[in-house]
Amino acid sequence: MSSAPEPLHRALGLTDSELDDIRQVLSRDPNPLELALYGVMWSEHCSYKSSRIHLKRLPSKGAHVLVGPGEGAGVIDAGDGIGIAIRIESHNHPSAIEPYQGAATGVGGILRDVFSMGARPLAVMDPLFFGNLDDARNRWLVEGVVSGISGYGNSVGVPTIGGELTFDECYSANPLVNVLAVGALPTDRLALGVASGWGNYAVLLGSSTGRDGIGGVSVLASAGFAGDDGAASIDDAKRPSVQVGDPYEEKRLIEACLELLDRGYVVGIQDLGGAGLVCATCETAAKGGVGMDVDITAVPQRELGMQAFEIMTSESQERMLAIVTPENFDAVQAVCDKWEVRANVVGHVVEPTIMTDGTSVGMLRIRNGFDGEVLAEVPASSLADDAPLYDRPRQRPSDLDAVRADDPTIDEPVGDAAADLLDLLVDPAWVYRQYDSQLFLNTVVGPGRDAALLRLAGPGLPASNRGFAISTDSNPRWCALDPKDGTALTVAEGVANLACVGASAKAVVNCLNFGNPEHPEVMWQLSESVDGMAAACDALSLPVIGGNVSLYNESGGRDIDPTPVVGLLGIVDSLVAPPPGWDWNDGDALVLVGHREAAGAVPFPLAGSRWATRRGRRGGQLASFDASRLVSTFNFVTAEVASICAGKVSDVTAVHDVSGGGLAAALAEMASVTRVGVNVAKLEGHGELFAEFPGRFVVATSDAEAFVARAIGAGVPVTLLGTVGGTRVHLGGLLSVEVSDIAARRGGALEGALELI
């Protein structure tokens, strides 16, 4: 069978109609180099062309928001002259193919987003999603991803303070590796990725440019895996599109860039990430409304004989583009020399071109020498901003009603509750022990708890007693059943986690991991999920200040469950003492804070719970999202813990959010870390043990009367559960397990599943 060769634009990932759009912009046929530029910039990964019309529905405003979505990172005013920058991204497909480098470069990329704002990166978090560990390839992926994060993050000198670890068969062929980074800056050092000032230089900082990562955004990130086995069968074909990281180069780049910004030597700065040099040059030029001439011969190259399209689209890591006045260039060079960072003038900011209709358009010109041949000439904004926006067809899955009707709350047999509990417990310490979680002396609550809590301090920052808290949350089991309420509940879960460390939620970032947007059911999930996030953020007064969309998470035609990951940033106004954590004491009274029963038709829904999922039950009806039941509880818990952080004496000795694994898991986790048991008198059956819905907290107190009085005063429902003490976790006659058995099972679960012990 013979066929005509595929037209170039399709090989570059552009559709026929997109080619027509490009012809319209240029009023001529694009040349092959120009097509390559559009191919990467108009890819799903760079242009958000399938999701942007939906993302507009997210609230992004707030008096404390200094920078909203669209820059390298979102920035809020944290007080005391300090801004906090936060960003989350996915590195899913590279990690599926080459787990160490995929995860490592995910860390590197997100850090550049943060320090490109002038912020010193202070913390990283990694939500990870893998298939089940009975599969050897999944075990290989887990070890590779974790060692990639460890190898890069530790060496680059940014603490990794937490994350999430989720196992589900839907990720078997398509694991998810998301990375969140937080940095802080004196607010007067805020930098933006804008080119301005005709005659200024565009200076490429950092690594030389090689052939790694070419087409990363289009070949790799904007298409699904065709085979049933996901990445396993296409390793060799796509592996060259995976970038390779060098944390030592990045560490020096961070120090050099922060010194350049401190000294006021740069006009604008942007990282080189997806789509490499073309992305950084066209975006900075488009934002500044200027033109830019780029000389490809001025770009330091790692390999001989690189083509212009390779130089422009390479995703070689550890590179930044700084806009610098000619007068400052020698000083910039001196700082870079000190840090052994390469600095080369690769572009000139030029006047916009006056078109025949009188409008002025900043042109991106790719040249062979600054005075040499023009190889490509296109409006910078057409690459950066003018990709077509698609309102792709959406359709509610036809089997959704049947899935919701198959509800484990109604008919799943009770079984052995103690055995179920032990099966649900996993201590992720094997993962986070491999991460430096303490650098910069800020980590008050590290990985493995409800949320991470850090002092708001760092080199070059004004003095402050404040702290900041971070949580990442997701629940694909909920979102598969109801992407709207599932996403809203996920946001609520994040706020609950922050409350446990005394932090008031201030901003949200999101990483929307979904399947193939050309499947109408996936677009419906995405749209519903955005609506749910918008509803929750509106109700809880939270701006969404940044995000990332990862589509085409599919293999062999099967999409992953919808996996919106929500990153929550909170502030503690006075952090001079640690929050209580999980360390309850013998003799404490145990109180459930918040509405005991879920909003909605069923008091203790098991739909979407880990308990039901382990039994192969993936259907049912979720709890509803009802902000009116949550806000006063969140505020009360936050205030109780914040007062302890501020150094006040309190009867509260331990606080834990009820989440994955339900009330039973929450109590078992606390018993496991303290090695002290608990006796709960009466619970409403196995539903109350294992149901998962946010808005409930377990609080241990040395003075139940005083605590309950405060809760009632705040209008928050409380239930006295029982007493802390003994060597067993004894839950209302439903289960009774030795604490030592819980600790042993929980501690060894992950290493056992990875076959390390």
């Binding site: 030592y248 560490k251 430096d436 002396l441 080199p459």
Partner: protein, 223 residues
Amino acid sequence: MARIGVVVFPGSNCEYDAAAAVEQLGGSAELIFHSATSLGDLDGVILPGGFAHGDYLRPGALARFSPVMDAVAAFAAAGGPVLGICNGFQVLTEAGLLPGALQKNRGLTFLCQPTTLIVSSTRSVLTRAATLGAELVVPINHFSGAYTCDDETYASLVADDQIVLRYRDNPNGSRDDIAGVANEAGNVVGLMPHPERAMSSLLGSADGRVLLEGFVGVGAAAH
């Protein structure tokens, strides 16, 4: 006030933390870039943790050739207090200022976790203020922290009371649970745990203070 220099190699990352700890104890800290050829008027020098020169080849193998190391060696030879923490310890062994070497951890993974140290000698600039046999909770944060040395070196370490800190529960496979050693004179000390990370109960432990107090204090006494 003791003046403590903190050496910054490209790739160091605990320099600010070490400096903060020194200042918390009433000393003054001065960051010294690795290209410096003299130390100036200092009472002590800290080689901080991190990944000097990316740990390329092996930890400390390139850093020993940084220009500043000649000045550090001269300072040590003159009896000046020198402390290597984590990567700084690795640099000191590579530079021959301390005996032995650091290998990859027994479990072949990076480890960031609290450890309990036992003060095994107070005859060093780091442990002089501590109590012999005292248990101190101080975190470790390393991939290559398993201390090793040949039998002859080990015998002399024991004979000359150069093993200053041991792990109570050996996390990494170090020979004889060794967490820190001193040179024969006791003025050069290296340890894998991070005492600067154990300066405040807010961050989990303040047990590192007694170690760094000794080090900063010896500097102050010298001044």
